[in-house]
Symmetry: C2
Subunit: 371 residues, 2 copies
């Protein structure tokens, strides 16, 4: 037999070179995630801050020794070695810097809340579209394999039927220091307050539960809690769909940690209580009930709900960066187009968030959800 | 040593003699509970139905051989061997028969919903008060030891802080037959529909969670689902307290079985998903989180929520009958007065239920909660 020809070696994939624009606390978590990825996915090429000293300290503390440091955001965006920007700046700075990044052809991984309003987001998305760059927001739990597993169950009509009611509560008990000093309570930095920070997750989880069908209208709960500067610290709302589905949510900086989503279908029910930040980063559980009957004479349940427990080698934030990088590589290396799903679900989240804000501004009268 | 005097034997307690007025399905569960009680607590003396044949069949099927049978409700109420009446008739019949029972000095264990409106309930409560008889409604889960354990945790300011948000969902997926024929969808029998049947539990659980402080106002969710006769099949509401607490609930005959209550405090959180009918009748679990922090950098929870699991020898409906019987014995044998706590919490539940109905009737505008 003749010896076979040596196989053609595929070139190893080139990692996507990230620039981190701003040294917020959340950037430490994303840097950690970047370091967890297998070779060939992503690397941190540079970190930019308002002072180079701050960028250097961030690089040293996060263990990113290969990263260049920049003493201004502008300088980072001019770095030709940066292909994609992770942007964790305060929300009020998103429009100028996200647009500047996309104008320079950088793919954009943008912290949530993505913008102060949908009109601002639209400016960012139009810029990304014009530059042909990938856009994704940093809603990490969407990338957790648990989320896909729950979605699979919800989509199974026999198991779950039709979703009719959703409830979500996202909260954490902010410290006094947070309530005085965090950017999330400052009207000039993160003016959306709790609604932008974790109400974002309530809204996204509700939209996710109904496969991103937009509600028609939103009515905010009365008496939202605001700080003296008018920034929301706790609020809630009810969402209404054309077919009679409803959802309620509350978000709060004033109650103990909670990341609950409960989804009620005609045939089934799902409960998860740590959706946004899993109790432990490499496992994830949720409970499913389907076609539950009473044990006669109404003294128990049959069948009992089942607990699903799943494991993931990579935590959800690493999976997020991996998916974003895969899309960027597809554009860069294979002539692909940006994936439109991500900006679409970002925009829907922002549009509902706008409606909640509009309802609050109208004294909790109904607000239409712009299509 | 001289031999001690023979101890004085206390007379064995005389069981409370119940009359069951009406042979509804739920009466089978309560009859079963009565048979589980230790000696000396309670006994079924008689069963009354619109036909004696039906009463005889009920007695045979439920294993109550010592019970007399009556072919009319009136006849049962004239039975001098009946001290206490368990009344599971359709809600529209509560006022005449509950008042007739109390007028004859019978203690009253009344099925929920207790009345079509608070004014009707007030007539019943006034009659009980005038006769000096004990009143209790049949909200069984209140008597589960799990409920007391949860209450203890909520009341612990260090563990739980102040309750700020409550959510409850009670539902079961009614069969086509139920939706056509059950008394709970008939305007002349149980006109409150789902709101009276299981919305009652949502409201009671919310009031229980806030130690029975009445909300100021209620706003029903838009687009409640009604059948052709105008009876509610699914609805929801938001409740507002003077101090900013809020609660939301949904109740439905149209979604899978759910008995959820989630209570969010400044320091702690409680989740229970089988409040009304425990998954298994002799055990009960719930989850508690307290002072939950993030594992840095926001990659987990510390401490993790804890699961409490408790056991009870007697199921909650037997504990309910036992507590009611204890109160009756205290009145009958020890000169005690009726326990006012039970009618008080019944009335609060009914008053909030009225406000939800009022809000629905007003097109989901706010309704004040009558004090």
């Amino acid at each position: 037999m003749s010896s076979p020809a040596a196989p053609v070696q595929a070139a190893p994939p080139r990692p996507v070179r990230f620039g981190i624009l701003g040294c917020a606390d959340i950037a430490r978590k994303v840097s950690r995630a970047l370091l967890m990825l297998p070779p060939g996915v992503a690397a941190v090429a540079a970190v930019g801050s308002r002072s180079e000293e701050k960028a250097r300290r961030f690089v040293a503390e996060t263990g990113l020794p290969a990263a260049r440091t920049h003493g201004s955001y502008e300088s980072l965006l001019c770095d030709p070695g940066v292909e994609a920007v992770y942007l964790p700046l305060p929300t009020s700075l998103h429009v100028p810097w996200a647009m500047a990044a996309s104008a320079r052809g950088k793919h954009l991984l943008l912290e949530k809340p993505t913008a102060l309003c949908a009109a601002d987001l639209d400016a960012i998305l139009a810029a990304c579209d014009a530059s042909g760059v990938q856009f994704m927001d940093t809603t990490m739990w969407i990338h957790n394999p648990r989320t896909a597993k729950m979605r699979e169950i919800i989509a199974d009509k026999d198991t779950f039927g039709d979703v009719r009611v959703v409830h979500s509560m996202c909260s954490f008990r902010a410290s006094d220091d947070f309530l005085q000093n965090d950017i999330r309570v400052k009207p000039d930095l993160d003016a959306l307050g709790v609604l932008g920070d974790i109400g974002w997750y309530c809204i996204r989880s509700i939209l996710w539960a109904v496969d991103y069908e937009l509600p028609q209208a939103v009515i905010a709960q009365r008496h939202p809690v605001k700080n003296q500067a008018g920034v929301l610290l706790a609020c809630g709302a009810t969402l209404y769909w054309a077919d009679g589905k409803t959802a309620t949510f509350n978000c709060s900086f004033l109650t103990n940690l909670a990341f609950d989503v409960s989804i009620y279908g005609t045939n089934g029910t799902i409960h998860v209580t740590d959706l946004v930040i899993p109790y432990e980063e490499k496992s994830g559980e949720f409970n499913v009930a389907s076609k539950s009957n009473f044990v006669k004479p109404t003294i128990g349940w049959d069948p009992l709900p089942r607990k699903h427990v799943g494991f993931t080698d990579l935590p959800q934030e690493a999976l997020m960066v991996q998916e974003f990088s895969r899309l960027v590589q597809n554009i860069r290396d294979a002539g692909g187009r940006p994936e439109g799903k991500w900006p679409t679900i970002t925009r829907k989240t922002q549009v509902v968030l706008d409606a909640v804000n509009a309802s609050i501004d109208k004294g909790c009268e109904p607000a239409e959800v712009a299509g």
